[in-house]
Amino acid sequence: MFFKTYLVSGLLALGLFSYAQYQGWSMWGVDESKPQPGSTRSAYHK
């Protein structure tokens, strides 16, 4: 049962991967919100 679940999940993962590549999704892309500038800059910069 666990193995069958893996086979189904694996196929779904491959499908999702293909769709993500087609759309150009990136985990490290940005969303459309805009961070407030200057909030951490003073602590970050030397």
Partner: protein, 610 residues
């Protein structure tokens, strides 16, 4: 041997000499009889004679065979095990019987054997045609030897020892005809009842070949080889145990019918901890005696074997048996603490043996070593449901605790890794397909000069056309050095007015300190906008730079449909989760299995799992 008057006649050409009478054969469970025929390696043979031997623990038969080509052999029969051997003339010198030790290697016909049994037996009777005279019986010191393939015995009853070499055989493989009829055997195997000579409790003998019966009422173990019913030993009845399978229960297991005829409790003691288990002796007319052992709800179905597994020293003591390697699990001294019912040897409470267990799930090989013999048995793990279905015990069988030495792991990892390999290959092909077919086209680039005014007056790029599907990657390559810039960007679809707003902070610092050079941040920045629809876009940029900073140069580059490697690695990670879980569960299962072995880590606990 005259079967009517039991006289031994010896043939001298045409004359017969009468050597007198000999003892009656004791009735046993043998399905063989004189005149039965069979085939061994393509040659037909017939059983023409038999001798019956008694040893300390019971009886066994040696059937004399004559092949069509006049060649003779012996078929040894003990507790349902059969060994067919031929007389061999060996060149190797044979040690004296008294000088032989259990486990000693002896070479016969260039083949190495190991001594498995030393028996000072007595031939008590015979029938049919035999190549020697039996008379009133004779002492028969016998040495049994075995290796992984063959069996041998050395008979020291004559002045010159005789060597017999052969192999273990199954009665079914000999395609025998003329065996004792099942009805005859059944008729003779009717229950025999008698009263315990100690407490007069009624006792029953169910199996042919029974040598001793243990009385559950008074704890006497009674010799039932003859009608004298001598008491062999007693045990403490206050330690009484109730068998899970009742004696006399009939069941069908692994293709044969069995009766539960005997029950005993054994135990080992390791580091002061007692580990008890139960053993049930099963008797089948077809299969002889088998054992069912139960430890913490785990069951094994086992039988003795005349083959001696070959030992291998590969860091750990392992053995090879019929092409399979068995790993050493534990060695312990086991002693009998309680007996009930009937047994094919003269059992005694307190008798002990050194037990070596080797495992290759679902099988377990066990060697029981005493001063006189080494007995190997092969067992197979049986789930409790199968035992319940076969013997229908009055109470539900206890739930399994922990992991048994030879319990098959429910987690077989190799299919997961094979599937994982296939998935990785598929993901790689998909990824390469996107790498090859992706546009990866620069749709816009522009050199920007950022200064204090860029914060209040945004810069708007030239319009650029984006086509097809995919992401949009925006690169900013600046000449920052020990400085920062914040870019407030907005991608605007000129046709629909849709906006993508995002902010990027770019900074790069470097220098020297007591540890050497250091750097922090990056003058280059890349941002990916996912799934940007086709259209004509402009980028509006507001830049914030530190006060007092002059101009910062920025090369802006916009790329359409750039494949994302991170998705590929993310897919690999996702695909590996199930195999890793299976591997972890299997590893945990194996750790639990070996936690009760001689190879348990010092800090292993007794965590249990059903």
């Amino acid at each position: 041997m005259c079967e009517f008057c039991k006289s031994t006649l010896i043939r001298h050409d045409l004359d017969l000499e009468n050597l007198g009478k000999m003892a009656e054969l004791l009735d046993d469970a043998s399905p063989l009889q004189l005149g039965a025929e069979g085939i061994y390696k393509g040659s037909r043979f017939a059983l023409i004679g038999r001798i019956q031997l008694r040893y300390a623990q019971g009886l066994w038969n040696e059937w004399y065979l004559l092949f069509d080509n006049q060649k003779s052999a012996w078929l040894s029969e003990a507790s349902g095990n059969y060994v067919l051997t031929f007389l061999a003339v060996v060149a190797e010198p044979l040690p004296a019987f008294d000088a032989i030790k259990i486990g000693q290697p002896i070479v016969l016909l260039g083949e190495s054997f190991e001594v498995t049994n030393l028996e000072s037996a007595t031939c008590i009777s015979g029938e049919g045609e035999l190549p020697f005279k039996v008379g009133a019986g004779y002492a028969a010191p016998v040495v049994d030897l075995a290796n992984a393939k063959n069996f041998a015995s050395i008979d020291y009853s004559d002045t010159v020892p005789m060597v017999f070499i052969g192999e273990q055989v199954a009665l079914g493989d000999l395609r025998m005809t003329g065996l004792r009829k099942r009805e005859d055997m059944a008729g003779k195997a009717q229950l025999k009842t008698f009263n315990c000579p100690s407490c007069a409790a009624p006792l029953t003998i169910r199996a042919k070949g029974t040598e001793s019966v243990a009385c559950g009422s008074c704890g006497s173990v009674i010799d039932v080889a003859n009608d004298n019913y001598k008491i062999l030993s007693r045990y403490n009845t206050q330690l009484a145990h109730t068998p899970l399978l009742l004696l006399g229960t009939h069941g069908h297991l692994h293709g044969a019918d069995y009766d539960v005829v005997g029950y005993l409790r054994r135990q080992t003691k390791v580091d002061g901890v007692v580990y008890p288990w139960s053993e049930y002796l099963l008797y089948s007319e077809q299969e002889g005696f088998h054992w069912l052992t139960e430890y913490q709800g785990h069951w094994n179905f086992s039988k003795t074997t005349n083959r001696t597994p070959k030992k291998r020293f590969t860091g750990k003591l392992n053995v090879d048996y019929l092409g399979t390697t068995y790993e050493h699990f534990q060695t312990a001294k086991a002693s009998v603490t309680y007996v009930l019912g009937e047994f094919y040897w003269r059992i005694k409470v307190g008798e002990s043996a050194t037990v070596e267990d080797y495992v290759s799930p679902p099988f377990i090989l066990s060697a029981e070593k005493t001063a006189n013999e080494t007995v190997w048995s092969i067992g197979e793990y049986v789930v409790p449901d199968e035992i319940e279905a076969a013997f229908k015990p009055p109470q539900p069988l206890p739930a399994r605790v922990g992991v048994a030495a030879n319990q098959p792991s429910p987690w077989v990892v190799s299919p997961y890794w094979k599937a994982f390999g296939a998935f990785v290959l598929a993901a790689l092909i998909i990824h390469i397909g996107f790498l090859v077919t992706a546009q990866q086209r620069r749709v816009h680039h522009q050199y920007l000069v950022l200064d204090q005014a860029s914060h209040t007056h945004s810069i708007t790029s030239e319009p650029f056309v984006v086509s097809g599907t995919g992401n949009l990657v925006i690169n900013n390559q600046t000449n920052l050095s020990n400085n920062w810039v914040y870019l407030d960007m907005q991608l605007v679809d000129r046709d629909t007015g849709r906006q993508y707003q995002f902010g990027r902070e770019i900074s790069y610092y470097s220098g020297w300190d007591s540890d050497g050079s250091w750097s922090e941040g990056n003058a280059h920045d890349e941002v990916v906008l996912s799934a940007v629809p086709p259209g004509t876009y402009v980028l509006e940029i507001e830049a914030e730079i530190p006060a007092g900073t002059g101009e910062i140069f920025d090369h802006l580059e916009v790329i359409r449909d750039q494949p994302v490697w991170a998705n590929f690695f993310l897919a690999l990670f996702a695909l590996s989760i199930f195999p890793l879980i299976a591997w972890w569960r299997r590893t945990s299962f194996e750790a639990q299995r070996w936690s009760e072995s001689d190879y348990a880590p010092e800090d292993s606990d007794d965590d249990s799992e059903d």
